[in-house]
Amino acid sequence: MLVDSISTLNTVFTLSPAEIQALLLSAKVAICCTLVIAIPGVAMAWLLAKKSFFGKSLLDGLVHLPLVLPPVIPGYLLLLLLGNQGLIGKWLQTTFGVSIAFTWVGAVIASAVMGFPLMVRSARLAISQVDTGLESVAQSLGAHPWRVFFTVTLPLAMPGIVTGLILAFSRSLGEFGATITFVGNIEGETRTLPLAIYTYTQLPGGDMAAMRLVIISMTIALGALMLSEILERRATKRIGRGNVA
């Protein structure tokens, strides 16, 4: 009886190779996505926080569009643009022999597009909250505006930037619509955790596997959110805003 239930537990909690593959792929895609959007995200956040220029609200709208659109739309647009028959995709293939559609790189691009607005929102808020008085005093001490950005603005905005990156990372782990539309659901190549869960729910007897992946996904997402909270608190303390609860 006891032995029986232990072996049942064992089968419940043992991941199949396909499941492990989905987990690792998800991690790879999410990490790459975070790395890809870090610099453009900060640059865009800075642009939107500090500069005023013609067409700013249009740019702002475009950046945030993926947040409000059904994910299938960005996915479809990516397919039109970067698919093998797409505008850029065709050129990439004929010039460099590179194909993005239906590869894990495409999955990275899809989740980067979806995660970008989350990253920008958070970083933009953080950058705009940096006291401009500190930036001007740094300049009056002889620092070039670039140096001011890297030594004053960036460190002070870091908690918000880190939060943005973690949000984008979590978003990437959960990305479904744009990914499946743009790069399909290919096992070992583009079948990330959400896609694997979806696949198992469609299979007879796949419930247990789906549930295992659901638990894993929830754990990772929850962990990421808690981590962002801890990092933010620590960073805030480090820059000395006193006792932050």
């Binding site: 008085g133 005093v137 004053v152 000395g240």
Partner: protein, 361 residues
């Protein structure tokens, strides 16, 4: 030398300043909203003027006709703000080094250790800005600006956010900087006493216009400054010489012409010239010398002018070498029968006399 000829229009506010500053320390004085900080911001390079020029030691920093506008970070002008603006993510040591490290070795006129010692901030070096008191923060901000070896140091109400006790603690440091470090300074304040503690060279700004520029004692009597002086209780600004310190009773005796003036102890040697002031509202008039009264100063003179400004009646009394203005009520004037030519005594409490440029004990 700073040659200023600047204009800036923003909305209804029009700033117009044209002057030449030659003194090592100049005080920029004016009420809140007079345009002091705007003018300082323009000199620092934080605010863009509409027109004019700004020349520091022969170098053009701004000239709209020649299209010159040296950016903030290349001006080599240090600024200390009311809010110390220390970098919260850096230690005090790194804050001090921020600008210092950007100055080429050959341009450094002040050493790190020298400034740390001068401002007594050694024990703070490893701390973070949030651990410091307001006064300590301002000393660090001052040190940080000085360490860039600036050609000009701008102080924008550096004491405004401190309480009276802390002000008294910081002022001597500012004087030390003035005395020991040869860097020209412009000190902005709406507190005339603070300015006079550091310098007697004053620029007065009112509603964006430059009213006067020169020695405090000379300009305070100018007609266009009079209204401002009266509203500040600076109707009577007198130059006198210290003749005696009476430590037992805690007072200092001054000589002004033939008159003797008693005031609370000040830190000036015998024979030193001092500038004092007493508000007209603190001067009472009497037709005869009073015997049984605590007021020490009873100066005899002749009424030369009686002016009414609104309900204020200002009586000018001439005492050979100086004029003293007393404010009396219409009723008092009537009952005493004061008119031009009357012989009167000006009664002044010793405690009501303010020395300028000293810390009183």
């Amino acid at each position: 030398m700073i040659d200023i000829d600047l204009q800036r229009t923003q909305g209804n506010f029009n700033l117009q300043a044209k002057c030449i500053i030659n003194s090592p320390v100049a005080g920029l004085f004016g009420a809140s909203g007079a345009g002091k900080s705007t003018l300082l911001g323009i000199i620092a390079g934080l605010i863009k003027p509409s027109a004019g020029h700004l020349i520091l030691d022969g170098e053009y920093l701004f000239d709209n006709k020649r299209g010159i506008d040296i950016p903030l970070h290349q001006r080599r002008i240090g600024t200390v703000f009311q809010d110390s603006r220390l970098f919260p993510h850096l230690s005090i040591c790194d804050n001090l080094n921020y600008g210092f490290n950007l100055v080429p070795q050959k341009n450094r006129r002040l050493g790190f250790a020298q400034i740390v010692e001068l401002l007594e901030i050694g024990p703070l070096l490893t701390q973070k800005p949030y651990q410091l008191s307001g006064g300590e923060k301002q000393r660090v901000a001052l040190g940080r600006a000085l360490l860039t070896s600036p050609r000009l140091l701008l102080l924008d109400e550096p004491l405004a956010s401190l309480d009276a006790r802390l002000k008294q603690q910081i002022l001597p440091f500012l004087r030390r900087v003035k005395d020991e470090i040869n860097i020209p300074m412009i000190y902005v304040s709406h507190a005339i006493d603070e300015i006079l503690y550091l310098t007697s060279q004053i620029i007065i700004l009112e509603h964006g216009q430059l009213l006067a520029n020169g020695n405090f004692h000379d300009i305070i009597h100018q007609d266009n400054v009079q209204n401002m002086a009266y509203s500040l209780g600076l109707e009577n600004v007198i130059r006198a010489v210290v003749s005696k310190h009476e430590l037992t009773y805690g007072y200092t005796e001054l000589t002004q012409g033939k008159q003797t003036i008693v005031m609370p102890l000040i830190t000036a040697g015998c024979g030193a010239p001092v500038t004092i002031s007493i508000a007209a509202s603190n001067v009472a008039l009497s037709l005869s010398r009073l015997e049984n009264i605590s007021i020490q100063n009873q100066l005899q003179g002749v009424v030369t002018e009686i002016k009414q400004i609104g309900y204020r009646i200002l009586v000018t009394v001439n005492m050979d070498e100086c004029l003293i203005i007393a404010e009396v009520t219409a009723k008092a004037r009537q009952s005493l029968g004061i008119r031009v030519g009357s012989q009167v005594y000006c009664l002044m409490k010793a405690q009501a006399i303010r020395p300028h440029g000293f810390i009183t004990y």
